[in-house]
Symmetry: C2
Subunit: 141 residues, 2 copies
């Protein structure tokens, strides 16, 4: 095959919430508890996990009356999935910071006409101030 740079991600891996759910099952030992931890119903969780198994083509867990345990393959998948979810969580945190940063800039530019003469002092102050409080009460004598 004369590929260019990298093949796009396979389609059967794209269900990130399913992976997250699988991790919860590994931790709690039960589909129902994992479902509650994610704020969804037990049938939803069951169906989601069944789809995941079907799409991966590998049985992941053995259902029992007193809970669900992972197959050896399931344990392996959990290990890999953990790194994926960790990376995703990392990204989520970063995006959150980025969003906050953007909002801060927006607030500053919005109230710029009022706060023009305060900015130099702010910039000399702290880099991670809660701009909302400062903006609402400029405390200018």
């Amino acid at each position: 095959m004369t590929d260019c740079e990298e093949m796009p991600l396979p389609a059967w891996i794209s269900d990130l919430p399913a992976l997250d759910l699988l991790l919860s099952v590994a931790e709690t030992g039960s589909v129902g508890r994992a479902a509650r931890a994610h704020g969804i119903t037990q049938p939803s969780a069951s169906a989601r996990l069944a789809r995941l198994e079907r799409r991966l083509g590998v049985p992941l867990l053995v259902r029992s009356r007193r809970g669900s345990l992972l197959t050896p393959a399931g344990e392996t998948v959990v290990v890999w999935s953990r790194t994926v979810i960790d990376a995703a969580q990392n990204l989520a945190d970063g995006v959150l910071a980025l969003r906050a940063d953007r909002q801060a800039r927006v607030r500053i530019s919005a109230s710029l006409t009022v706060a023009e003469y305060l900015l130099p002092a702010w910039l000399r102050c702290s880099r991670t101030v809660t701009t909302a409080e400062r903006c609402s009460k400029p405390s200018a004598p």
Copy 2:
């Protein structure tokens, strides 16, 4: 908050194909080329990226007539996303190996009655043999 162990992944991060698409845009410098690389239409790619931006709450790229470039925030997100899809790709490869392994076991157990006396020789041979060939033609005199 009295959380148990870990908060489930936020919902606005769960679109893995969108992240992958964003990486392609970063590489090719164009939404259309990225779309072609993923085998989808340009409008689909455009809509997907727009949704991603809306969900993240951060502008990621600046559209131009001669292509699309990333905003500073976009560059940052791309860096984090790279690690995520790398981990996902890693998982995909692992699952592929797991699947192949399982299929091998299935073939072996299926033809076990025939191949019983051959297994010891196989096990002494190589660990990653193409069991399909061996199984189809046992080459037993």
